[in-house]
C-alpha cells in the first residue's frame, strides 16, 4: 500500500490571495495604473498588466547583501506604507533578506537554501552591493563564505538577477579608485543569467518595484539599455525632464550656490550638475513620497546612477570641464550649450542621445 501523503494546496494566485483578504481587483488595476504611469507604458497595457499580476503567483526573491551600506534596502522598504505603494510586498515572497528576516545564523542560511530548492529555476536573486574578488574574495564574508562564493552558489539555479543600487550594478563606491578589494558589479561575475541593473545611490523605490512587478506580470524582462538598465526608468536624462530646463535653454545659470541666480532657481549646470549625462527618473518620480529631488532642493545631480560616478573628477566641476572617462563629444556639447543657449542645447541633447544609443538587446539576454 502506498504511503498516505497529503499534497500541499497549490499556492493561490495573487488575485485569489487578495480576494481572500477582501481586496478587489480594483486594487491591482490601480497598482498597474500606477506602475504603468511611472514606467511610461501605454495606457492600453494597464489592463494586461493587472491581469498578469492577478494570475501570477508570488515571486520568490532571495536578497543578498554584499559590499554596501543597506541604503538600497532602506529606499525599497521605507518608502512604503500600507497603501498603494506597498502592494509590491503582496507580489513577492522575500525568502531571504538579512536586514529584515527574523532568523539568524544557520537558520537564516537554511532559509536561503530551502528557497533555492523549493523554487529551483524560478527564483529571482536581488544583489545589493559590490562583490570583492581580490585575494579570493576574503574582504567580505558571510557565515564563513565569501560574497563571491555565495553569489555563485545562489545564482546557479536562479531565473534572473536584479542588481539594485550602483554598487551591485557598476561597482559603486567599493570599486572607486583605488578599489582596494578588487570589487566589481554583479554582471562581472554572473555570466549565464540575465542581469538587470537598477542603479542609483540609492535607486528609486518605484524603479525596483516596477521592474519586479513587470517581470511577474509579463513573464519577461523589461526592455533594457546598453548598461542593462530598464529603459522605462533610465530612458531619459535628469536634464531632459528637469523643471529647470527652461533656464538652461535661456542661458540662465547659477554661478555659485549663494548668488542671485541660485536664489532665482536658475539651472545648476555651472555648479556641477550632472543631470545632462545621468539617466534616471528622479525629475519625474522624485523622492520622499514625491516631495522633491536634489535639483529641486538646490543641489546639482551627482550622477549616481552612472558607472564610476565617484571618480568623475568632482561633484562641483561643471561638465564642460575636462572629465575623465567621458568622451570629447559630451564635454564639447556641454560647453556649446553654455555658450549658445537653446540651439546648442538641442545639439547637446542629440549628442547625449547618441551616446546612449545601443543596438537592440535580445530579450532575456545578459546585461
Amino acid at each position: 500500500m502506498a504511503p498516505f501523503t497529503i499534497e500541499p494546496a497549490p499556492e493561490p494566485t495573487l488575485g485569489e490571495s487578495l480576494q481572500r483578504r477582501g481586496i478587489s481587483r480594483r486594487a491591482l488595476l490601480k497598482y498597474a495604473s500606477y506602475l504603468g504611469a511611472v514606467m511610461a507604458l501605454p495606457a492600453s497595457a494597464t489592463e494586461a498588466f493587472a491581469e498578469g499580476l492577478a494570475n501570477a503567483r508570488r515571486q520568490s526573491v532571495i536578497w543578498l547583501h554584499f559590499q554596501e551600506c543597506t541604503g538600497c534596502t532602506e529606499s525599497f522598504t521605507r518608502s512604503f506604507s500600507p497603501t498603494l505603494e506597498s502592494m509590491i510586498f503582496d507580489l513577492v515572497s522575500l525568502d531571504y533578506l538579512e536586514t529584515l528576516q527574523a532568523a539568524s545564523g544557520e537558520a537564516a542560511e537554511e532559509a536561503r537554501l530551502k528557497a533555492m530548492a523549493d523554487n529551483k529555476g524560478k527564483y529571482v536573486v536581488v544583489v545589493e552591493g559590490a562583490i570583492p574578488a581580490k585575494d579570493g574574495g576574503v574582504y567580505s564574508t558571510i557565515a564563513g563564505q565569501t560574497n563571491l562564493d555565495m553569489l555563485r552558489d545562489t545564482v546557479k539555479d536562479a531565473l534572473a538577477v536584479v542588481a539594485v543600487g550602483s554598487c551591485a550594478s557598476f561597482g559603486g563606491i567599493p570599486k572607486a579608485n583605488p578599489n582596494p578589494t578588487g570589487a566589481g558589479p554583479a554582471s562581472q561575475f554572473v555570466t549565464d543569467k540575465p542581469v538587470i541593473n537598477i542603479p542609483g545611490c540609492p535607486p528609486i523605490a518605484e524603479s525596483m518595484a516596477g521592474t519586479i512587478a513587470y517581470m511577474i506580470s509579463f513573464g519577461k524582462l523589461p526592455e533594457l539599455d546598453r548598461l542593462g538598465r530598464p529603459k522605462a526608468f533610465y530612458g531619459e536624462t535628469i536634464h531632459d525632464r528637469c523643471y529647470r530646463r527652461p533656464f538652461y535653454e535661456r542661458g540662465e545659470f547659477a554661478d555659485s550656490f549663494d548668488d542671485e541666480g541660485a536664489r532665482r532657481g536658475y539651472c545648476l549646470y555651472k555648479v556641477g550638475c550632472k543631470g545632462p549625462v545621468t539617466y534616471n527618473s528622479c525629475a519625474t518620480l522624485k523622492w520622499n513620497g514625491g516631495t522633491s529631488f536634489p535639483i529641486q532642493s538646490g543641489h546639482g545631480c551627482l550622477g549616481c546612477s552612472e558607472p564610476d560616478f565617484w571618480d568623475q573628477g568632482g561633484f562641483y566641476r561643471p561638465l564642460s570641464a575636462p572629465l575623465r572617462d567621458m568622451g570629447l563629444p559630451l564635454a564639447a556639447a556641454g560647453a556649446a550649450g553654455l555658450a549658445l543657449g537653446a540651439g546648442a542645447a538641442w545639439t547637446a541633447r542629440r549628442h547625449l542621445a547618441n551616446l546612449s544609443a545601443e543596438p537592440p538587446k535580445p530579450e532575456g539576454g545578459k546585461s
Binding site: 488595476l29 498603494l84 519625474t284
Partner: protein, 133 residues
C-alpha cells in the same frame, strides 16, 4: 530663445496637453477606441496641472474608490473626458490620468470579484436562514 511663461508657473504645457485631449476626444467621438493621457510623468508644474484641471472643469458624475488608498474620479465638463486621480501614501497624488472613454475601467467590477461576491452573498443568506444551534 523661448518666450517667458504667460503666467507664474505656467510653461505652455497645459495648452499642449489640452490640445492632445481635444484631438483624442474628437477621434473617440467618431468611433475611435478609448485613449488616455497620463499626466504624472510629464514635466508639468503645479500651475500647469491646476490649469488643466480648471479648464476641463467638472461634469455630472463623480466617484471615490477606497482600494489600496483613495481614488477620485470625475467626468469633466466634456462628456466622455474623465479625470482619474489615484492617491497613495499620506494622500499624496500617485497618478493623474485623463481618460477619454465612456467610463473608466476602474469603475467597473471585475468578473472574478462578481463571482466571489455572488457566492459570498448566497453563503451569508444560508447562514442567516440556518436555525440557531
Amino acid at each position: 530663445m523661448n518666450a517667458p511663461p504667460a503666467a507664474p508657473g505656467l510653461t505652455g504645457m497645459a495648452d499642449a496637453v489640452l490640445s492632445e485631449i481635444a484631438s483624442l476626444a474628437a477621434t473617440q467621438a467618431q468611433g475611435g477606441g478609448p485613449a488616455a493621457v497620463e499626466l504624472t510623468s510629464m514635466p508639468l508644474t503645479a500651475a500647469d496641472r491646476a490649469e488643466i484641471e480648471a479648464r476641463l472643469g467638472r461634469g455630472e458624475v463623480s466617484a471615490t474608490i477606497e482600494s489600496a488608498g483613495r481614488s477620485e474620479i470625475w467626468e469633466t465638463a466634456y462628456s466622455g473626458v474623465w479625470f482619474v486621480r489615484h492617491l497613495g501614501r499620506d494622500g499624496a497624488v500617485a497618478t493623474e490620468t485623463i481618460e477619454i472613454c465612456p467610463a473608466p475601467k476602474i469603475l467597473f467590477s471585475h468578473p472574478d470579484d462578481r463571482r466571489a461576491a455572488a457566492a459570498r452573498l448566497s453563503e451569508d443568506l444560508r447562514e442567516k436562514a440556518a436555525p440557531a444551534a
